[in-house]
């Protein structure tokens, strides 16, 4: 209820008393109320004429970085006796320094600066404006307005630099790169020996093989290195991550995806990404920094969710990925995913599974209990069995306890030749 409405019953009560008693006292006691009301009316706020400009210290930051927001307000109208302003901060941003609201008084032509610092989770944030309210000094009348002061903030997922990951899909692209192409030509790794042809460099002659065949010369051949198609599939199904601190585990999966995308794109490969969960989010394959930007933007908006159609992995649109390319599936894994992964392998895709260990992640957050310990052991055995079945089908599997930094795990496990990798 507005304050001045209180005066109505008080004034009418005194008026009624005056009519009843027929004395001048009640009318005299109405004077202070009427003067107070009159003072409020005379000094009630005029229209708000404020000019506002917003600036951010950075509009694109990595996860965990602090951003300074600065608002500059100039009063182009009459004096504002009590000015309350509140910057509309998108949720769920955390303020780490200063406040996003302020009460002050502002003279005509005066400029005011409001500064505060914030930190946000991964995502895209849009600042709309500032709510301002001006009151007269008695607080009887107020005027409010939303001042538009747009700004945007992009918080990128956490990404680490990875060493070159050794993969070997069956099919490569025509451009030279770092992935062995299973065909002879120019390269570093020895591939085989062939008959010498006109134009071959003398230093490439394999003298040992030539010695065994006196009438022919043999030349060393090396394995060509080319770029490949890599398909990253990020599992964003809610049920894969459980209901217990699921967002934290998902953030690990997102940061792993970002790191992998960056690593493969830096090596010149063609990378596409599929975010499989609540919605169909497909980033068409591409090269270079532009593609990295596209993938990062897709990861910024990645959220856990559920959809009846995408509940199981069997509806993964495999045809989006080039035949015989490398697929990397980032997921804690569910029991029914095994079949789909085996089918992908059977179709000729080279599959690498990076699986954040959900069991150890949840167990760390539970109180020690003998029943939980038994449950953990059973779940762990089930998981080990599933991972072994995948490995037996020639699927690379990297079990990732998330307390181990991802780049450490990758450098110790995935930078060797796939054939040498024992999981």
């Amino acid at each position: 209820m507005k304050k001045f409405f209180l005066f109505g019953p008080l004034l009418f009560g005194l008026l009624f008393t005056g009519l009843l008693t027929r004395t001048n006292e009640p009318f005299a006691f109405m004077m202070p109320l009427l003067i107070y009301l009159g003072a409020g009316i005379l000094n009630r706020p005029d229209k708000i004429s404020l000019k506002v400009a917003r600036s951010l210290s950075a509009d694109r930051v990595p996860l965990g970085a602090t951003v300074d927001v600065s608002l500059k307000l100039t009063n182009e109208g009459p004096r504002l006796e009590e000015l309350f302003l509140e910057d509309i901060v998108p949720t769920p941003i955390e303020l780490v320094g200063g406040t996003s609201d302020l009460l002050t008084t502002l003279e005509r032509g005066e400029t005011l600066h409001l500064k505060y610092s914030l930190r946000a989770g991964r995502g895209y944030y849009r600042f709309q404006g500032v709510n301002v309210r001006t009151d007269d000094h008695l607080g009887l009348f107020s005027k409010s307005k939303l001042l538009r002061a747009e700004g945007r903030l992009i918080v990128l997922p956490h990404s680490v630099k990875l060493k070159s990951i050794r993969i070997k899909p069956r099919r490569t692209r025509v451009y030279s790169g770092l992935i062995p192409a299973r065909s002879g030509g120019q390269g570093i790794d020895f591939f085989g020996v062939r008959e010498h042809q006109k134009g071959d460099l003398p230093r490439l002659i394999n003298w040992k093989a030539t010695a065994r065949h006196p009438h022919a010369l043999f030349t060393n051949e090396f394995e060509q290195e080319r770029v490949v198609d890599v398909g990253l599939i990020l599992d964003a199904r809610q049920r894969s991550y459980g209901r217990f601190n699921e967002n934290q585990l998902f953030e690990h999966a997102v940061s792993a995806t970002a790191a992998l995308a960056e690593s493969f794109l830096n090596d010149g490969n063609r990378v596409g990404m599929y975010n499989y969960g609540r919605v169909v989010d497909w980033t068409f394959p591409g090269y270079g920094k532009t593609q990295k930007e596209r993938i990062l933007r897709a990861l910024i908006g990645a959220k856990l969710g559920e959809h009846m159609v995408f509940e199981k992995l069997e509806y993964l649109p495999v045809r989006l990925f080039p035949a015989s390319s490398q697929l990397i599936f980032i997921s804690p894994l569910l029991r029914d995913d095994k079949q789909t992964l085996l089918q992908l392998r059977a179709r000729g895709y080279q599959v690498l599974v990076i699986s954040p260990d959900r069991i150890s992640f949840e167990q760390e957050r539970l109180k020690p209990d003998p029943y939980i310990e038994i449950g953990k052991r059973v779940a762990y055995l089930d998981r080990v069995l599933m991972l072994n079945e995948l490995r037996q089908a020639d699927i690379q599997v990297l079990n990732w306890p998330v307390n181990i930094p991802f780049h450490n795990l990758v450098s110790s496990s995935l930078t060797r030749h796939p054939a040498l990798y024992a999981g």
Partner: protein, 170 residues
Amino acid sequence: MMMTISHKALLVLTLFTTCILAIGYASTGLMVWVILIIACGLFWLFGLKAGWDWAGTTGLIFFMAAITRGIFLDLPSGWLLLSVVSALLAWDLHQFINRLEKAGRIEKRSEIERRHLKRIMIIAGLSLILGTVALLVELELGFGWMLFWGVLLVLSLSRLFDVLGRENNQ
């Protein structure tokens, strides 16, 4: 709770109103009302400390009721006028303090407080002067004229509140 000048002024005004009314009612022998008035004053101060926004409004309404009752009991008019002014200013200061405390950060706090106190002192001065003049002037009006002016006042105030309410919502 930090005691600013507004807090101190509110404390003084609340105690002043309580004392004046209590003394006035004590002189008539109505001890029940004396106890109620003292209880209301203490409740108001407790409400301020507890951060109850509605304590000031409740206190003002009760004190105004006590003042109106005092008219019927022929309590000294000057004292009742002083009570009205001090109760009104105490309520205003309570609302002002609430507004300041709800704001996260305040710049130029002392300037805002100073201007507010200056304004209410002007209001207090004018109220006392005009109120005293109204008490001293004796006008003989028939019931009909009083009813006419009363109805006119009611209609004017209703219209004013309606206009101000719409203006405030824009």
